[in-house]
Amino acid sequence: MTEQTLAPALNLEERFGDWVTPDTRKGYEGYLVAPEHLTDFATALRDEFGYDYLASLTAVDYLPEGKMEVVYHVSQSTGGAPLVFKVQVPREDPVTVPSLVPVYPGAEFQEREAWDLMGIRFEGHPDLRRILMWEGFEGHPLRKDWKEAYYEADTKPFKSRWPAGQIHRVEDTLPFGKNVKYPDGFDPEKWTPVEEEALYASLKRVPSEGDLPTEQIIVNLGPQHPSTHGVFRMAVTLDGETIVDLKPVMGYLHRNHEKIGERNTYLMNIPFTDRLDYLSSLSNNFGYVLAVEKLMGIKPPERAEYIRVIMAELTRIQNHLFAIGMFLNDLGAFFTPSLYAIEERELILDTFEAVTGSRMRCNYMRFGGVARDFPPGQLERIRDLVFNRLPAKVDEFDAYLTNNEIVRARCEGVGVLTPEQAIAYSTCGPVLRASGVPYDLRRADPYSIYDRFDFDVAVRYHGDVYDRYLVRMDEIRQSIRILQQAVEQIPEGPVVTGKQQYQVRVPAGEAYGRVEGPKGELGFYVVSNGKPNPWRYHVRAPSFINLTALAEMCKGNKIADAVIILGSIDIVLGETDR
């Protein structure tokens, strides 16, 4: 295992000469790549060095230095630490960077996001539209000089609230009583919305084959649709019932997580991470504290490591239970399987409530440990859950569902993603593993104490909807295995290192912390400039990036299958839209 965690000995300078320079800023790592060589560099990295998986792509606005930076984290799909490289361009409009979509198709949505929020034009991108905000929105909100209507100060805590204790409603100070602002000289009467047109124009329409000319129609599923798992929308071109093209439309739950996160102090962000993937708040906590701990250079005590693993694995189980229940909903088995799943989930939520004080918004992990120890008797209850209750219930699920004729008929061979496509589109988690790629960060790049446990990486090989369901079932079983070992091995001791403070000191630098969340690789990219607030805070959201492959999975299938293909990805909108 240990060889895998070491970064491979790379001598990029030798291979690439003056295309690359090592990033020598204090606390930074990786390489700076000259923009004009970016595409060739990435192609060579993929083909010669095996970095075939684009994990994360984001941008940072270095306003004081007058630079914009695009940050790429790439991995090898066989495992190992990620490699980071960056491109810097002057911060003068138009900010342009070559698009990496031709090399890594998984960059598509991430580049659109960087364009939307940071205003970086990716040259050569096939469909560079806004993704989280709507077409026509004014400005690029994640830029450091962009201010929202409710702007009060650059960083929290706001002086008016603390220590002054002044309470006022911001909207009362604004002309419209709402957080809206309009550019000068704007006339609402003359405005024509452009969002929908741009979307429909981007949808492909291919001429129908055969003697019978048919007209293709565009159908919208969502954002209010009983099966889209929240406020998600798909615009679909149909030829009869067959899907010709599909574009996911998101942003209906874009809650500005990153902008708010850059205003918050480090500690304030922990409860916000709860609300990303709102089914699995503890995994989100985990990823974020790992990133900040990397920057701070601290490690939690043994007992805290075990508690974290126990909570994260329980989270995975309840997430997968819920996902399977809702997936069966999509298949038309309305609510009965969900009721079974939710019954078990409630038991796990009880554990969360007992330990953290809340069923869903746990806000439990801290830098260097966890907020508090298990209450007395809780470990016994968890033990009972993982040794007795859950294994039996998973078997029951299996008996009811796995060989059900309708489930198989509807799921087998539907929404197929080949391993090559799965890697190219940067899919992660159960979607990737169902396509036959055994890539699980708990093994591929172990964090925390996962290298101590005996478990298998769940993997299936057909890449269809049915295999994604099976991978989730397998993963529940493997999580139970990990839990059984963890509750036996957990030592006594403190649950946090050092003294807990409201204001943590985070040295300047960058860090990318990632965990294998229930939905896949959940990464947090944090840039600190030594101040109490992060300069940049980016979330690599698995649900969001998995959707890049949605169109590919749906094309050629029937419209009714789009619903279950989406269900099999298991997205949560809080994380997709952030």
Binding site: F137, R255, I260, R275, E346
Partner: protein, 215 residues
């Protein structure tokens, strides 16, 4: 159930209890409505998950006659706004509200729907759905526990109990006006605000100063 149906002050003989009720038109009308509220199957964010749990077996909304969740606004009585309302979503919510047949009720579930919640300052977040549509019950919490949501629904039933056929707006002669659907411009625009927007954008005023804020 029959307590809320019988008008107080009338003796019903024991052998007729449960068979005969002496009541008013208002009472029987409200009694029927309060016990069969159909919510819209409509989830926005994290709070929706707690709403689903409330409908599931442990908390069981069916005890109140509210388990019939309908995906179509035409068939629903209650919109549970369960989560953060964003600017991008608010036109759809207003449209859904307009499509609901009267009598219709709105329950703002959670901090976000009631006032923006933790995300209030966000540039894409609407600080409370009541900026656009009228709300009947607010349920605090982030997310409200299923118990809290049930409490909110019981409060809604109490509100229904107090309504009278003589006064309810949906039996007025004229049809009720739909709420104008907001438009996505450079920022979200409420058509009711157009005149005011022009006032500000076409002759800009100085922004509110720091000192005034903390004054």
């Amino acid at each position: 159930m029959s307590e809320s149906l019988n008008s107080p002050g009338y003796e019903i003989p024991d052998e007729l209890q449960g068979t005969v009720a002496i009541t008013t038109l208002d009472r029987i009308y409200n009694w029927g409505r309060r016990n069969s509220i159909w919510p819209m199957m409509f989830g926005l964010a994290c709070c929706a998950i707690e709403m689903i749990c409330t409908a599931a077996s442990r908390y069981d909304l069916a005890r109140f006659g509210m388990e019939v969740m309908r995906p179509s606004p035409r068939q629903t009585d209650l919109m549970i706004v369960s989560g953060t309302v964003t600017k991008k979503m608010v036109p759809q919510i207003v449209r859904l509200y307009n499509q609901m047949a009267e009598p219709r009720y709105v329950l703002a579930m959670g901090a976000c729907a009631s006032g923006g919640g933790p995300f209030k300052e966000g540039y894409n977040v609407v600080s409370g759905i009541d900026k656009y549509i009228p709300v009947d019950v607010y349920v605090p919490g982030c997310p409200p526990t299923p118990q809290a949501l049930l409490h909110g629904l019981i409060k809604l039933q109490e509100k229904i109990d107090k309504q009278s056929l003589k006064e309810v707006p949906w039996y007025k002669k004229a049809p009720s006006e739909p709420i104008p659907v907001p438009v996505l411009g450079p920022d979200i625009m409420d058509p009711r605000d157009y005149a005011k927007i022009r006032e500000f954008t076409l002759q800009p005023v100085a922004p509110v100063q720091e000192e005034e804020l903390s004054a």
